[in-house]
């Protein structure tokens, strides 16, 4: 029990190092209303700490080396950067107004940020701390996805209802695809051949085939149906796909469920009951677990990916929004 003491992260880390070859990973959860970040140990599922995250923290990601945590502090109109060990703020980055969601390049040098209030996607250089480009997109930009080859960044605009394909070589939009109402999230498969875009109010996930040159073709829309739940409440938000592409997980907002979809047939196989108003999702690096943020029950649900079952819920701060797990 002593080992679980939250005041001794170093002891804990050393102990785990001795016991197993892998270090414990940490999940960072942004609490939109509480203005904090909760840190959760992904071995013990204990809360390690909670620290101030700026005003209205939403989008959250981590540098590829796992040392820096980036948080969209929406009401501060900037990105806050924290040390993932000390939890101290080590700087801020310009983000454009009202940053909501972002993706990071694999070398950690670029953040692609959706500015919800300003109809822009801002590209920020994380090393120089400067804005490299502002790309005008549709109304209320929200979802951000990056292609595995990093040639494309996809932004979804919630009121325009499009997925905008931004070419990262010149920051120009090359394709626009109309999707259903209030597109929230864009997620490529690891092989880059497919893109999924969730539409919260439309109640669908649009599936696009991606050609070798990056051009999208809308092929189908996945719909959802749960007996006893009004169709109006089946609102897809966060989307994650396993590395092998076999499973797609979709958070269904106020339906309090995560849909499990077969990557091949695109059929919904199951609905996993999680906390209330399930929003964003993140895998642990080994893909053993999928974490969900549940905005109305102030917790995260831990899903065993292989078993496709919810195994635990962990109380975090007020109105958890986003989640990211440190890499191995």
């Amino acid at each position: 029990m002593k080992m679980r003491s939250v005041s001794r992260p170093l002891t804990l880390a050393l102990a785990l190092l001795a016991a197993t070859p892998a270090l414990a990973n940490k999940a960072f959860v942004s609490n939109e209303r509480g203005n904090t970040i909760t840190v959760v140990d992904t071995d013990t599922w204990e809360v390690i700490t909670e620290f101030p995250g700026g005003n209205r923290p939403r989008g959250i990601t981590i540098s590829p080396d796992g040392t820096k945590l980036y948080v969209c502090a929406s009401d501060d109109n900037l990105v806050r950067v924290f040390d993932t060990e000390t939890y101290k703020e080590i700087g801020t980055l310009p983000s454009g107004p009202d940053p909501e969601l972002f993706v990071i390049s694999s070398d950690g040098k670029h953040l692609y940020i959706a500015n919800e209030d300003d109809n822009l996607v801002t590209v920020t250089d994380t090393e120089q701390g400067v804005v490299l480009a502002e790309v005008p997109v549709g109304v209320e930009p929200e979802g951000m996805g990056i292609s595995p080859d990093e040639k494309w960044v996809v932004n979804t605009s919630e009121t325009t209802n499009m997925a905008h394909f931004i070419d990262t070589s010149d920051y120009k939009i090359k394709h626009n695809v109309l999707v259903d109402q209030r597109p929230r999230y864009a997620q490529y498969t690891a092989d880059g051949k497919r893109l999924f875009v969730s539409s919260e109010i439309g109640g669908t996930v649009s599936v696009m085939d991606i050609a070798p040159d990056g051009a999208p073709t809308l092929v189908t829309k996945i719909e959802f149906e749960v007996p006893g739940v009004l169709p109006e409440w089946l609102q897809p938000v966060g989307v994650k796909v396993t590395q092998d592409g076999n499973r797609i997980f979709v958070a269904l907002g106020p339906a309090n469920r995560v849909a499990v979809i077969d990557g091949e047939s695109l059929e919904v196989l199951d609905y996993i009951i999680v906390g209330q108003r399930v929003w964003q999702l993140a895998f642990t690096p080994d893909e053993k677990y999928l974490l969900t943020t549940n905005g109305n029950s102030n917790d995260i649900t831990v899903i065993d990916v292989k078993a496709e079952k919810a195994i635990k819920s962990v109380q975090v701060g007020q109105q958890p929004w986003g989640v990211v797990v440190t890499p191995n």
């Binding site: 394709h175 626009n176 109309l178 209030r182 719909e223 695109l266 919904v268």
Partner: protein, 395 residues
Amino acid sequence: MRYVLMPLLAAVLAVLGASGALALDLRAAVLRVDYETLLPISRFDLRAEDLGFAGAMLADEDNGTTGRFLGHTYETIHKATDPEGADAALDEILGQGITLIVVLARDADVLRLADRAAEAGALVLNASAPGVALRDEDCRGNLLHIAPSNAMMADAVAQFAVWKQWKRWFLVSGSNPADIELAEAYRKAARKFGAKITDERTFEDTGGARRTDSGHVLVQRQLPVFTQGAEGHDLLIAADATDYFARYLGYHHWSPRPVMGSAGLWPTTFHAAHEAWGATQFQTRFEALTGRYVKPEDYNVWLALRVVGEAVTRASTDDAMALRDYALSDDFELAAFKGQKVTFRNWNGQLRQPILLYDGMITVSVSPQDGFLHRVSPLDTLGLDRPESACSAFN
């Protein structure tokens, strides 16, 4: 689980390259009829000069941002007129070749203007008139209703009251025709959802000063007496469409019961404190553009023009009747910061929408309430339903 394989052609069309779409330049108008009225009871309800027009400005920006990717532009002209000048103002709009017209006016004027517009093949979007008859026997094929009806508003309140188990109502209504019509909507709502009106009184509109330095002194003496001795009730429902007494009822009502309807907790399409479902973004955009808080009329006009914009985006046409047809089709859906998509009742042209219940500061609740079900949509538990509708213009 179901998924739909779209026809190949549709899929190809849906992928819109930078140059592939048909260029369209949309022109619309907002026609606002300004009536002689006394000052509102509360200064917070003073009418802004740009009431309604501000919503059109935001809609043009929103539609224009989307249109940029499709080669569509949007321009909306604004026209305010007194009631006598309404027909001439409409003729001037029609004379410019504009066939998409949002109207802010009272029921009788909306109906007359819609008929006049029909002769020019124009579509009218009603952003204010609440009369049930406009959606019933007086419905028109070229008239879509963005504003909810009195029946939808009354049903929204009734569902909440019934959900609370506050089923005994004391109905206090005004004496003007609009008040009488609103009171009737509450009587119907009570019958529809199993509430009982245990007592009913009319507060006569005798004219005179409304807002004076010492008005509250008189109000404090008069209203307890006026409401004294009412039969047992859980709730006072005020039907005051002309805004001359309902706001005074809270705290001056004889019995310690809440007030709903035209004051206390009232139904509205939108208010400036609404933040759920991404509405904060709407508020921020609106306030940055106009320098003031949004009013329901602004939201209704914005929504009317977003209906047009969404139909243009999806149907790639600027023909008013083709846009109407698309809006009424099963393909149409629109996000409106209400937590679910809004669509049209294709049998009378009314927009289905959740109704916010507002206490002047926050969204207290949103109707339809949990447990009120309907074979088409829970939204159809609000207002006139298809089987009872006498509207035939959409057949």
